[in-house]
Each structure stands twice: as C-alpha cells, then as structure tokens.
C-alpha cells in the first residue's frame, strides 16, 4: 500500500519524519486551543437537542395532555407512568412520572404524542445529589415549559 514504502537512507539518518511530527506538535502549541471551558462557558445549545422532557402548554397555561398513554406505551424502556381522569367531560392527566434514571432520551414519547403535548428541551444539566429527585413528576414537567413555543 501507499504508505508502505521503506524509509530512505536520508530520512533514516536525519530523522526527517520524526522532525516533521515534532514541528506539527510545535505548531499546535502556538495554535488555538479548542477546549470549551465547561462550567464557565457552554456550547451553544442545538434547538433540537434531546434533553429533559417538558409539557407543552396551551396559551392559557393548561396542559395539552389528555392522558391517552401512548407515550408510556411506546417508551422503549418503560419509564413513563401516566394516569388520567375525566373532569367536566375532558380527560386530564392526574399523574405523570418519568423515571429519568431509566430514560434513554430517544425521543419516542415526543414522536408518539398525538396531541403534541410533550417536548424535549436542550437542558442537559440534570444531575442531582439525591436519586429520588431523578423522578420527573407532573410538577417537574412544567419547569421548562416556557422554553418551548406553544
């Protein structure tokens, strides 16, 4: 193959290929660093990024979800628990839990929702100190609602 040619005697004696490599690293040394200084400086979020889940709200601030349960059914890792009841002839959701420790952020719940009631925002800093807090409940699903256009 192409790179298989033997080193010539000239190259061998004067370390040509090693010197070339060293010049490259020296060039890097005076070049720009690519590190993103994470906590101080963050990457610009990608709008479509699949981060934490949130409810999409109607303009009057009510949930769109009617507890049909398709998201729970289509979740590959079975991490959504959903319960609803009928109030004034309209189904509303009474319990909505996402077990974030099991969630694989595949976005299938978003795709599955016929009401377009759930969305994922680009929030990725979701670590907490207590494992119990990794459960996203109905209250928590409102946290980033303002970030998604209704």
């Amino acid at each position: 193959m192409e790179g298989d040619k033997k080193l010539s005697l000239f190259e061998k004696i004067f370390f040509i290929e090693i010197i070339k490599g060293h010049l490259l690293t020296l060039k890097y040394m005076f070049g720009k660093n690519v590190t993103v200084m994470y906590p101080d400086e963050k990457r610009a979020p990608v709008p479509k990024s699949r981060g934490i889940h949130t409810f999409k709200l109607e303009s009057d601030g009510t949930e769109r979800c009617n507890a049909c349960g398709l998201c729970a059914k289509f979740c590959p890792s079975n991490c959504i628990t959903i319960k609803g009841e009928k109030v004034d002839g309209k189904r509303i959701v009474t319990q909505y839990d996402i077990d974030i420790t099991r969630c694989i952020f595949c976005g299938m719940c978003v795709d599955a929702c016929p009401k377009d009631a759930i969305a994922m925002v680009e929030e990725y800093e979701i670590s907490v100190y207590n494992k119990d807090e990794m459960n996203l409940d109905q209250q928590g699903m409102h946290k980033y609602s303002s970030r998604v256009p209704s």
């Binding site: 192409e2 190259e11 690293t25 479509k48 398709l70 976005g107 299938m108």
Partner: protein
C-alpha cells in the same frame, strides 16, 4: 524448562477497549497461549427485541456499536424494509449513503486516535476527537443527540434534514483531506510506529476467510471484499470509489486500509452532496410506519447486512406476522473479528497483543450484544 505465567488482561485494563478479558499464557513476555472471556456487557438485546415493536428496536441498535449508531440504525431499518417490501425515494437513499459515510469517517477517526493511544502516542487521539466533534455537532443538528441518534425509522427518518446540514457537511468535507494529512504526519511514516506495526498480528488470507473476518481486517489481508461493491445497496453502485486492500495482513496494513477508506469516504460524501436530488425522503405511505401505531410485518425471514465501518453488520430477522419480531440475530463485526484473536497473537509480545486488539477496532457493546 521455562516456567509459564498466566496473566489476566482485562476486564479492567487500559487497552482492552471495554470489558474484554484476555487470559494470556506467557513465557517471559512471549504469548504461548490465550483464551478469551466475553459477555461482561451482555444485555440480551436479541431477547429484548422479541418483546418490542419494530419501531422501538431502533433504540436498541444504537447501543450495539455506540460509535457508529447511524449505520446500525440504517442497517436495521433497511432489513425491516426489505421484509416489508418498502422502497424509499432516491433522496432518502442518498441521505442514508451520506450519513453512513460520515459515520464511517467518525469511526475511522476514532480508530486512528485510539490505536495511536494504545501504541503510546497521545496527541493523535486529541486530533481525531477534535475533528470528530464537527461531525457529532452535525448529527446533533439533525437528530438531537450526539451518540445514540435513533434517527432512522422504518420507511424513512425521524425528521427532515435542513439545508444548513448539507452546507456545513460540505465545508467539513472540503477540509477532511487536510485533517487526515495531519494524522498521518504523526503516524504513517514514523519509524517507531512502523516498527511497532509492520509484521505484527499477521493474518493470512486463508485464515481470514476461514475465520470469517470482516471489514478492514479482512481487506487488509488481501481479500478485496466490500459489501458496498459486492452487493451494492443504497446508492453505492452510483458512487465512484475504490476498495482499500492491504498486502500483508499486519497491523500496519489494517491502519493503512482505514486511512485509505477515510479518503474514499471523503470522495463518496462529496459525490452524495453533489448528486443529492430534491423531493421526498420518506417512503410513500410513511404514515403507516410512523410511531404512535405499531405495524405488522408479514411472516417470513430476512438476512440483511451492510458494510459498517467495522465490517459486515447483519440483521437476521424472523417474523411471525405480529408487531414484534419472532427472533432477531445480530451478526456483528466485532464479535466475529475478536473470535479470531487467539490465532493472531500466538507468539507475540504483550505490546503486540495490545496493538493487535486495537487494530481490530472492536467495541464491546457490539461484541456482547
């Protein structure tokens, strides 16, 4: 009479690429025998798939070879499409070709970096990760994730791709050859790198075929077999590219084959972008296969494989006419390549064992399934 020493390389070892356990019998530093233990990352993907619908299994394929999720997705959805008898429009096929080649670039960049790292050179890994980041950003732009994309769906893809993606890919592609030249400056001609590689971990042509090796490892042994040419799928029959073939089947050839494939991928990406047709990218009745409704697949069976960056990834799907497959068998390249490792490291030194394992480019998620 020299006394033998048994040394346990892995599951926790810096250069076994995860949780591969290699048990080496040593005489001094020479390997006289070896055995392997795998399965420490076995998650039973094949069993899980039997209880999931065809759409949900896409998320499982992400977690096979987590470096090349896109090609896994493509292979799986194409297998199901073959079983269903769906055709997708040319734009969809071009997009799949384009993304498969970008994923190959990502994988081979990873290989070059990690391989150099295992041989003790620490800068290439940062070079390649720096450049890989650009493609990951592009993938994030279209799919929303950086590693486990779940982007392709049976009959099409999750979302339409914005024009910005193609423009940025073109910018990246124009710079790709320069990036490859940078990696090569530190490695290809370097005398220490060559001394560590030439004649190490040699696989003869016959042994390679007999062991069923795939991908760059097979081609480095002088077998010009590439599914993209042998059984063209997607748009590969319209692309102008060469198969990289090695001569000696040693680690150095495996490295060179991958460098050559990087350059060929650059050519394919350029052609894809140039020829990209407009129109729909999902199949006609894509609504039928969209997510809220699980679809049924006619009974039968199919084996479909594509040339993934690491080799031939095949899905053997048996369907019994329900919403979930009856049985899925994943034929993964890392698995088949690792099985032949024992024969390659016979008589080698420990340093050669490390080089050989790295040159196979294995990912344990795929090996253990």
């Amino acid at each position: 009479m020299p006394r033998k020493m048994t040394i346990n390389m892995g599951p926790q070892h810096p250069s076994t690429h995860g949780v591969l356990r290699v048990i080496l019998e040593l005489e001094g530093e020479n390997v006289v025998g070896s055995d392997m233990e795998v399965g420490l990352l076995h998650r039973g993907i094949e069993k899980l798939a039997e209880s999931m619908t065809y759409q949900q299994i896409v998320t499982l394929t992400d977690r096979l070879d987590y470096v090349t999720s896109m090609t896994n997705n493509i292979t799986y959805v194409m297998a199901v499409e073959k079983l269903l008898g769906i055709e997708i429009p040319p734009r969809g096929e071009y997009i799949r070709t384009l993304i498969a080649e970008m994923q190959r670039v990502v994988n081979h960049m990873m290989f070059v970096g990690i391989y150099a790292m295992d041989l003790g050179a620490i800068t290439p890994v940062f070079q390649t990760f720096r450049d890989r980041e650009i493609i990951l950003d592009l993938f994030e732009m279209i799919s929303g994730a950086r590693l486990t994309y779940s982007f392709f769906r049976v009959g099409g893809m999750r979302e339409e791709i914005p024009q910005e993606f193609f423009d940025k890919t073109k910018d990246f592609n124009d710079k790709l050859l320069g990036m490859i030249a940078e990696y090569e400056t530190l490695l290809t001609r370097n005398r220490i790198f060559r001394a560590r590689n030439i004649g190490v971990g040699v696989v003869s042509k016959e042994y390679a075929i007999n062991c069923g090796l795939t991908g760059p490892v097979l081609r480095a042994s002088g077998v010009p077999y590439d599914l993209r040419k042998a059984k063209p799928y997607l748009m590969y029959d319209k692309m102008d590219f060469e198969i990289a073939v090695g001569d000696n089947g040693d680690c150095y050839d495996r490295y060179l084959v991958r460098i050559k494939e990087l350059k060929e991928s650059q050519k394919i990406i350029a052609q894809c972008l140039e020829q990209m047709p407009s129109g729909a990218s999902n199949c006609e009745d894509y609504k039928k296969y969209k997510i809220p409704k699980p679809f049924k697949v006619p009974a039968g069976e199919v084996y479909f494989s594509t040339e993934c960056p690491k080799g031939e990834l095949g899905f053997y799907i048996i369907s019994d006419g329900t919403k979930s497959p009856y049985r899925i068998k994943i034929n993964s390249p890392s698995y088949i390549n690792t099985a032949a490792l024992s024969g390659m490291i016979e008589g080698a030194l420990i340093a050669d064992v490390v080089a050989t394992i790295a040159s196979l480019d294995i990912v344990l998620g795929e090996l253990d399934k």
